[in-house]
């Protein structure tokens, strides 16, 4: 086997995995703290992509500004989603039962139907992106292959964001309260943490980060269609389950693992039949998901429940 093909696929897998890991950070927070599985994950990611695209194509704003606005839009969206959907279902509840969990799944499912079809309605199904925009240098050469600088920009932003979120959760009082509610909501309220406030904060943060990650996904993919929601949402679930619920670092590591597994299996399958390497490589990610769910359901960094 050609070693450079292996190297290229591994590097691509790594670069993609970082994006994937960051895209799942918001999901892991919501799931870990509130037991809310955001089934609209893919559509929420796309919100960030489309906000940046509109600002770029219609108002001529730099994508960097667009990314920042996307983050702000995401925070507002999180606020709205909490008060419109989640508060009634989980706001005042101390222990989330299976029945409540199902209701939240269905509510987020409803959101995903509405959002996805809103995108189809407003933006159509053709790919949209930043065109040829870049930071001045479109490509760099590494290991005999070319990598778009936009991908490197996306990865750098993703890594910085993960670090900021990690420090926020680890160092600040608010972040510590979020982790306290994640570990034991009842005990947390006993020591004076207002659970409704924390749930609101978690939703705002979780949705905000997910929308922000849509900007990185767009930089990575170069263009997006509404259909991409169906690629990133299931993969985010895989990443969260593999990384462990509520673990930000776990999410990043799991994203990288999935990216590298994808890259590796693509190389291996290409040896036998290059035409089918992409679908088979994607299916391995889901086989990993089912295996993890069965044998190590708490994930790599998760606590045993």
């Amino acid at each position: 086997m050609d070693v450079s093909i292996l190297a290229i696929n591994l590097v691509n897998g790594l670069l993609w995995g970082i994006i994937l890991g960051f895209a799942a950070v918001g999901l892991t927070l919501l799931w870990g703290v509130m037991k809310v599985v955001n089934l609209a994950q893919g559509e929420v990611i796309l919100m960030g992509s489309y906000v940046a695209i509109i600002l770029f194509t219609q108002y001529g704003l730099s994508p960097l500004v667009g990314g920042l606005v996307a983050l702000l839009v995401g925070l507002v969206a999180g606020f709205l989603i909490y008060w419109a959907l989640l508060h009634k279902l989980v706001g005042k509840v101390e222990k989330i039962t299976l029945k409540i969990e199902m209701s939240t799944l269905l509510a987020m499912f409803a959101l995903s139907i509405a959002l996805l079809n809103f995108y189809y309605y407003s933006f159509g199904s053709e790919p949209r992106g930043f065109g040829l925009w870049n930071l001045g240098l479109p490509f760099i050469r590494v290991l005999g292959t070319t990598i778009r600088t936009n991908i490197l920009l996306a990865d750098a932003l993703a890594l910085i964001s993960v670090a900021v979120v990690y420090l926020f959760l680890d160092r600040t009082i608010l972040g510590k309260s979020i982790r306290a509610v994640m570990q034991d909501a009842q005990a947390a309220s006993l020591v004076g943490i207002n659970p409704v406030k924390i749930k609101l904060l978690t939703t705002v943060l979780g949705i905000g980060l997910t929308v922000f990650s849509g900007f990185m996904v767009l930089l990575f993919e170069a263009s997006v269609t509404p259909e991409i929601a169906h690629k990133y949402a299931p993969l985010s679930f895989v990443v969260v389950v593999l990384g462990g619920l509520g673990s930000v670092v776990g999410s990043l590591v799991a994203g990288i693992i999935i990216g590298i597994i994808y890259g590796l299996s693509k190389v291996v399958v290409s040896l036998f039949n290059p035409r089918i390497s992409d679908p088979v490589a994607l299916s391995t990610a889901f086989i990993v998901l089912i295996l993890i769910l069965l044998f190590k359901p708490e994930g790599i960094f998760g606590r045993k429940r």
Binding site: K35, V37, I113, Y121, S283, L293
Partner: protein, 337 residues
Amino acid sequence: MAGKESTLSHYLKSPTLLIIVFVVLGILVARILGMSTLDTLMTIMYFMGIALSLNIIMGFAGYVSFGHAVFLGLGGYAYVLLVYFIKPLADLQNVGLGLGAFVVAVLAGLFAAAVAASVGAAVLRLRGAFFAIATIGLDFTALYLMKAIVPELNPEQFFGAQIILPADKIVEKDIVFNAMFLTLVILLAVNYYIRKSPFGVGLTAIKEDEDAAEVLGVPTTMFKIIAFTLAGFFTGMVGALFSLNGGGVDETLFNLGHSIDMIVMIVIGGLGTVLGPVVGSLIYFELYDLLLVHYPGVNLIILGIIVAIVVLFFPEGLIGLLRKYKVMGMRLRDLLE
């Protein structure tokens, strides 16, 4: 004898059975008198079929299978590949006014059921969101594997995962209608039987509190696997006949959108009843049609909002809502089982 009579009169008083018979006869009469186009009736039966299939695991046992479209896809692909590659089966389709097509659909359903049984044995250990996520994972695994395998089966004819059946391998719409109708009747009977049987009671116990059910001697693992396998089997059959009706199959059959359809119909109608999916699918069909006609483009956005409202404010669905009321001194709760 007296016991038998009271059972009979009990059944006659039970509106559920009457409504089911009414719906079945209604479809038949509409078909015979030509009151509705064949396509409309097929769509209604398809909606009702997938809702009733998922109802076995979601409505009765409380396990929401978000990736249930996988069995629709597996059934569809199994059917189309069977008649594409095996000549006797393609000929069998035309035998007996739809009975032959029904038999081939059973084969396709059995394939879906085999997958459901083997995967179910593993994933049914998971509860709640984890189960939902696992079935979504299963759906995507199957989708990507189909995308990889199908083009290899006949590289000259199959482009991507799409298979179009040649003219000599598809059958007249009448035959598909008969086979689908038969499937629906059986599906209704199975749903009704489960609701009334100890098996159904066991599933309800699992839904209410699985650990308690286990302690009380309900073989939870076996019951769940049987329910999931049945749900997979019938979804596969419906998917098979749906594909035959469309003259082929492509990867959109695995779309999570189909899972949305099933879940929404059950939620609108009401969880845990036989009538729920029946009524839910009729409402959903009308709603779908109405929104499509009056608000093309934004119809599905409105649908999403309606679903959110139902989940937030009427979590019991229509039948659940009606069950709370009394009519003529009788509690509807007892009647709408």
